[in-house]
Subunit: 333 residues, 2 copies
């Protein structure tokens, strides 16, 4: 539905975490992006060639994808100027921001004037049901994090890729704008109305073959007070048979919440498993995924070994070392 290839708009993103959308597309569908576009003050790169709008258009790009997420989400005047120029040049726009492209009068007018399309992938396109909690055939795995943005989506994408490479039945189920932009389908869970959150996840992960795995993209954290309700809806709507604990070992405090210390993996295990077993009494924790991007190779190996010994669970950085051991653990269920 969204025309490829993309030019990835990085705006004036202050830090790499803010560029999760662009990085995800770059890592998992690199063939879909011809380059990146940065404004002055941008402190981020996703490793693609910097291009002007004209260069990207000449290289075949058809959609300018907003590759950065702002807390609260505001489309600044500096952004608007670029986006309007892109529409005038013939680009469609795609965005997962809270504040919608279609709600910006200048963008809506420019899109209409030039016959371009504004894709707001954050907006649910389905009227989701209220969850009924009924057991469903097929198997499901969910990554739950000590914090937001600790690598849950990467873990799911890497595990899905590994499962499919082994010839196993597996589907990545996107629950956020990045995953939806990557796969073209999914539930924009954080934009779903509260009463329908768990139902949207039941809808996303319907009954399936007994040997099929839904690899459900996690959101937020049970310990992140801004978004914990979203996470619990995933845990109860997804009815996971398996949980993976996700962690980022260098984070000084909960993301965006300087007053809040990170929980330990043991706390996460106990709380997540207790809650998951309400919906699926057979649920197990099958492994730990650690985002070691801020550690050197030796440090990363030492960190993984320490956690593996302490937790008694296969512990990997799936992006750095592959998701093979997590796939092994799933296959053993």
């Amino acid at each position: 539905m969204i025309q490829t290839p993309y030019l990835l708009f990085l705006g004036d993103a202050p830090d790499q975490l803010a560029a999760k959308v662009a990085q995800g597309i770059r890592d998992w569908r690199p063939e879909n992006a011809v380059g990146q576009f940065r404004l002055p003050g941008c402190n981020v790169s996703v490793g693609l060639q910097d291009m002007t709008l004209a260069e990207a258009h000449a290289a075949g790009a058809r959609t300018l994808v907003i590759g950065v997420a702002n807390r609260g989400g505001v489309i600044s005047a500096a952004w608007q100027a670029v986006l309007i120029e892109a529409l005038e040049m013939g680009f469609d726009l795609a965005s997962g921001l809270h504040n919608l492209l279609r709600d910006e009068p200048a963008l809506a007018a420019a899109a209409a004037a030039h016959g371009r399309t504004l894709h707001d992938v954050r907006i649910p396109s389905v009227k989701y049901p209220i969850a009924d909690g009924k057991p469903r055939s097929g198997k499901r795995v969910l990554a739950v994090g000590t914090d937001c943005s600790v690598g849950k989506m990467y873990t799911a994408l890497a595990l899905d890729a590994e499962m499919r490479a082994r010839g196993l039945k597996s589907t990545f189920r996107a629950t956020g704008q990045t995953g939806i932009l990557i796969t073209g389908d999914g539930v924009p869970l954080d934009a779903v109305v509260a009463d329908f959150m768990a139902g949207s996840i039941e809808y996303l992960t319907p009954p399936n073959d007994p040997d099929h795995w839904d690899i459900i993209e996690g959101q937020g954290s049970l310990f992140h007070v801004s978004y914990s309700g979203v996470t619990l809806a995933l845990v109860h709507g997804g009815q996971p048979d398996a949980l993976i604990l996700s962690h980022e070992p260098t984070r000084p405090h909960m993301r965006g919440l300087p007053e809040y210390a990170m929980p330990g993996l043991e706390e996460l295990r106990d709380v997540a498993l207790t809650l998951a077993r309400v919906a699926n009494p057979a649920c197990q924790v099958i492994g730990v995924s650690v985002n070691t991007q801020h550690l050197g190779e030796d440090e990363a190996r030492a960190c993984l070994s320490e956690i593996e010994a302490r937790m008694g669970l296969p512990t990997v950085d799936p992006f750095r070392h592959g998701a093979g051991r997590l796939a092994d653990a799933l296959s053993a269920i």
Copy 2:
């Protein structure tokens, strides 16, 4: 904003739990309701005089309030006929249903033709912030339930009334349509977009005098898989200093979920307190409220005594016996 007094519309409600809105108005603002209106097949009464629309209008009623909640919420043809007749007769309509009065073309047309107002109290009227988790002055108490519809709102209303009767600073904070219809203010939490749930509760319960108590209306249950995410947003957005455990001892299974057994009060205490202490490490469980409406007086007393001995907490049915002991426990914090 909503013109009083009301006529309470009970429709063809199948059971008393479905009439929570009407019953709440009847119990807490009886001066606002002149009577009740029932369709054939209605199995519910809130103990008011049955009236035709004409009788109620003659008695001074100005707004027909939809006093029943449907799971999923559908305005049937039988309901529509009455609602249109009411608009023609000069009533405004007020509703907390998911499907909005304003979205029904026939109702919107009749309201426009007759100059009447459709109040959809379920719709948020505020753009809520994302929660920032910062500690706030003042104190807050939240009732959390083993299940939905176990008396959390009644507990909060009764406790608020008792606190105010003692001359203490107390505000009931409505989080659902019934509470909003009763008090005229609040957050319709189950209709808030997922990312803003916890922020809406921070907005609802702002910094206050150190000796002021917000009595926050609970929603759902951490153990009810359809709505648990809403409950966790309340726990983390509300930052309660005190929790009250709410229970209905005769419920055979979780409401609407025949596959799900009710949790014990001990399980609820452990899970709720663990999660609440993420946002407020000083949080305490200060009492238990039991909805004994389906028990005789002796049975109720025995049930309360048994739970009190087992849990080591003041245990009352606040609607039946008053909320004095809960107010005592709050005052001791």
